[in-house]
Symmetry: C2
Subunit: 143 residues, 2 copies
DNA sequence: TTATTAAAATACCAAAAGGTCTTTTAATAT
DNA sequence: ATATTAAAAGACCTTTTGGTATTTTAATAA
């Protein structure tokens, strides 16, 4: 569905938010281990997320990643869009730029509701809502 | 949604089938032009499709690509699966191999119906059915 | 039988994705 | 101050994807 970077980013963000709800500020090593993602790549991705303003961090002892709790909840769609664009939930199944309601490819009509459903799903779910779901138990983020 | 190779392959296959219904056997140059795909890459992809047994071809004068009309219709899913696997319509939104009904990620339940819809759509539609739709007009494959 | 035509095969090439590793910078505790 | 800790920065590296170009093989028409 999504590319690796997006997958690791989503898992990492939800994990950080979940830990934040427990009063903990995890670092790269912990996040990578817990979401089962490559250590250095996870570091790079978390740092990109900080630079994009989705996440905060502090260096040094006691450092790690955390969210600005005063900001509104972060929809998955915002993260997905920032990392890999909208090709997954927009754009033609045949890859035609000209394809649209006026000028449909043979799959356009059938794909439209699916794209809408994906768009809605990642637009409604937020990093925070998934962390709450995860906290309740019954779901996994790794291992 | 799909990668470039899959997109070009689907457009190319539908175009060849459509031309076949008109009694014509198109070559690489024509297919690439009509589906608006890179010439040499289109050639490579069509040749792969032949090697995979989805398509037939003849060399030399009057040569080109065509389908064995005695074979059953070809579902898009078969082509997609052969080219890029099932990651688009199967597999976890978070990228977890362990994710499933028993061991769900926080998105699993919500994504399940979407994956099922994609799977159904590309399982039901065939190269032939889309070529018939295209023949009726009102849809595009390129240009 | 030889041109001509067109696919097959093959050899590259460039960009993007995915991933690793080392060095630098900043925060904090001693 | 300084040792320690941990993120930031950045240099690489590998694989996959996307794409180009040339040579070879096969079919056919003259």
């Amino acid at each position: 569905m999504f590319n690796k970077e997006t997958e690791y980013a989503l898992r990492g963000l939800v994990y950080v938010q979940f830990q934040q709800m427990l009063g903990h500020k995890p670092g790269i090593v912990e996040v990578a281990r817990e979401i089962e993602a490559p250590l250095f790549y996870t570091g790079k991705i978390l740092q990109r997320l900080v630079k994009m303003g989705f996440l905060m961090s502090t260096k040094g002892k006691g450092g790690g990643f955390y969210f600005d709790a005063t900001k509104p909840e972060l929809p998955l769609k915002t993260v997905v869009q920032a990392i890999e664009g909208d090709k997954t939930y927009a754009g033609c199944g045949f890859g035609l730029k000209e394809c649209g309601d006026e000028n449909p490819c043979p799959l356009h009509e059938q794909f439209a509701p699916i794209r809408a459903a994906i768009s809605k799903l990642i637009g409604q779910n937020t990093v925070q809502s998934l962390a709450r779901d995860f906290r309740k138990g019954g779901t996994i983020l790794g291992l």
